[in-house]
Every structure is written in structure tokens, then in C-alpha cells.
């Protein structure tokens, strides 16, 4: 467990350092995820042993967004008189993006003959 969490932190650290050193828009943890994936591909045994820790962390992923969510409440009045149009834009565009994205994926997967395994 300690070793696994250290591994996550080391890859995050590597990602943060690269992101800052090269002045990239990609956040450090996202780069860290990419590095970690390369590591897992080259070390399948490590992948099997680290899987339970990763699953434990990811099954509570929602919890990790709570502090940022609480921060948002204090800024809701910033929406001001634009509140309703903005909420409509968010709900409308999120629904549309999901619909367009899923239909594109399913359509092309069918066209290319890669049905869900």
C-alpha cells in the first residue's frame, strides 16, 4: 500500500516536473498517468500487484471533488443576472456533447466492425 501510493506520487512528481519544465498546458497528473501507463505496459507483474490499491482509490474518486465543489458555492453569485442562461447552457451543452460523442463512437464502432467485447 505505502509502496503503491509512493509509485503514484513519483509518477505525479515526474509529470509535474515535465509539465513545468516544458511549460505545457497538460496538467502534471495527466502526464503522470501517461508515464505510468508506459511503465505498466513494460512491467505487467507490477500492474497485477498495484491493481487493488488503484481500484480502492478510484472507487472513491467522487469524494475527492467535494472540497472544490464546496468552493464553488461561495462563487455562485458571480453568475449574477446571467445565472439562468448559464445553467441552461451548461445542462444543454453537456447533454448534447454526451449525445453527439456516444453516437459518433457507436456509429463508427459498428461501421468498423468492433462491437463491444
Amino acid at each position: 500500500m505505502i509502496v503503491h501510493v509512493s509509485i503514484f506520487l513519483l509518477f505525479q512528481l515526474a509529470g509535474e516536473v515535465t509539465s513545468r519544465a516544458l511549460d505545457l498546458t497538460v496538467p502534471g497528473p495527466v502526464l503522470g498517468m501517461a508515464y505510468f501507463l508506459v511503465f505498466l505496459v513494460s512491467a505487467p507483474k507490477a500492474a497485477a500487484s498495484i491493481r487493488p490499491t488503484a481500484q480502492g482509490l478510484l472507487s472513491h474518486l467522487s469524494l475527492l471533488f467535494v472540497p472544490a465543489g464546496v468552493g464553488v458555492v461561495g462563487h455562485l453569485e458571480r453568475l449574477g443576472s446571467d445565472g439562468l442562461p448559464i445553467l441552461l447552457a451548461i445542462v444543454g451543452s453537456t447533454a448534447l456533447a454526451i449525445i453527439v460523442g456516444v453516437l459518433t463512437f457507436v456509429g463508427l464502432a459498428r461501421l468498423m466492425g468492433t462491437p463491444d467485447a
Binding site: V5, F8, F11, Q12, G15, T25, P27, P29, V30, M33, A34, F36, L40, V41, A47, I50, R51, A54, L57, L58, S59, L61, S62, L63, L64, F65, V66, P67, A68, G69, V70, V72, V73, H75, R78, D82, L84, P85, I86, L88, A89, I90, V91, T94, A95, L96, A97, I98, V100, G101, V102, L103, T104, F105, L108, A109, M112, T114, D116, A117
Partner: protein, 238 residues
Amino acid sequence: MPEFAEIWTYLSQEPLLWLTATLVAYAIGDAAFRASGRLPIVNPVLIAVVILAGLLWVTGTPYGTYFEGAQFVHFMLGPATVALAVPLYSNLARVRATAIPMLAALFAGSLTAILSAIGIAWALGVRGETLLSLAPKSATAPVALGISEAIGGSPTLTAVLVILTGITGAVIATPLLNLMRIPDWRARGFAVGVASHGIGTARAFQVNETAGAFAGIGMGLNALLTALLAPVVIGWFL
């Protein structure tokens, strides 16, 4: 026996109280979610946020004080993002097999998210900084804030819009996709990750591990694409 005020003075200065409150509020949200038979509208994040915001308001606690405790939870977002590589690795064969549908869905979903958000808000009379702040709202928070600043939006406002988008996606995805009769977990997860980043991805993991893995890829790729597309789409409206 010490006065309650003295105990409160201690509690309000230490991270213990608000760290505990964050976990308890989430546990309550999660229990409500399970008790409802896992109804998507009973979103644990939303419930926890409402409880905590209410507590802060009642006790007159500033967000800065709250965050001193909550930062330990917030911090784990970084390692959890790295950990997303594990389900991605487990699904690697499926990911390779669907590279082209994935890239097409990424482009279509990302463009739709930016264009329709600005389009709807613009049609309803929203202009200026607020409109610009809306453009990157489907990207994961750190990326969205950077884009917002670069295109002349307000990063604080964008942070609010990013979280609202995530919660919206987490709440509407399951009923919407069931209504559309889409059984493919890869497509469902990916579209949700592109449209509603980490909070959508967290929701996808609650439903299905493959959906979660694909949502994580969608979130990561859309962070890149939004940075490229948002300035272009904004140009069409100015």
C-alpha cells in the same frame, strides 16, 4: 469544564474538524445514494457539497479555513489521476481496437461541448468575459483554468462552471444514455469523460469499470483538444 467557545476556537483552527466533516458529509451522500437504489439524481458529491456549504454558512466559517482541513482530500486528486492508468492498462486491447471511433467521438464531443455552450449562452444574451469563461468548461479543472485565462475569461468563474458541468454530467448521463438505449460501456464512458471530465469519470466508475477506464481516456484527451479548439471557436463569436 471549558467553555464551548474555547473548544470551538481549537476546532476552528485545526484541520481535524473540516477533514472529518468532509468525509462524514460524503458518507451521508453515499448512504443516501445507496438507499435510493443508486438513483443518479441522488448524487453523493452534490449532497456532500450542499451539507458542507450549509455548515460553513451556519458557523460563519470562511472557505480558506475549511480548505485547510479539506486539502488532504483535495490533494489525493493528483495520485488518483495517475492511478487511472491501471484501468486503462486493463482495457488496453479494447482501447487499441477502438482508436478511430474514440478519436472521432473525441473531436465531435469536444467541439459540440464548446460550440453548444457558447451558442446557447450567446443566444440567451450572455456576452463578454462570462461567455469566454464558458468555453473550456468540459475540460478538467486545471486545464480549463489555464485556457480561460489565455482566451480572456475569468478563471474563478470557469472553476465554478467546470464543477457545475461535472455534476450535471454525473447526474444526467445514466438516464440519458438509457433513454438512448446505448448498451456499449466503452462508448458511454468515453462520451461522459469528454463532456464532464473527472466528476463524470468518477460517476462512470460507480457504474462499470470499463466505462470508467474509457471515461478517464476521454477526460485526458479532451483536456488536450479543448486547449486547441476553444480559442478557435471563441473566434467565431467575437
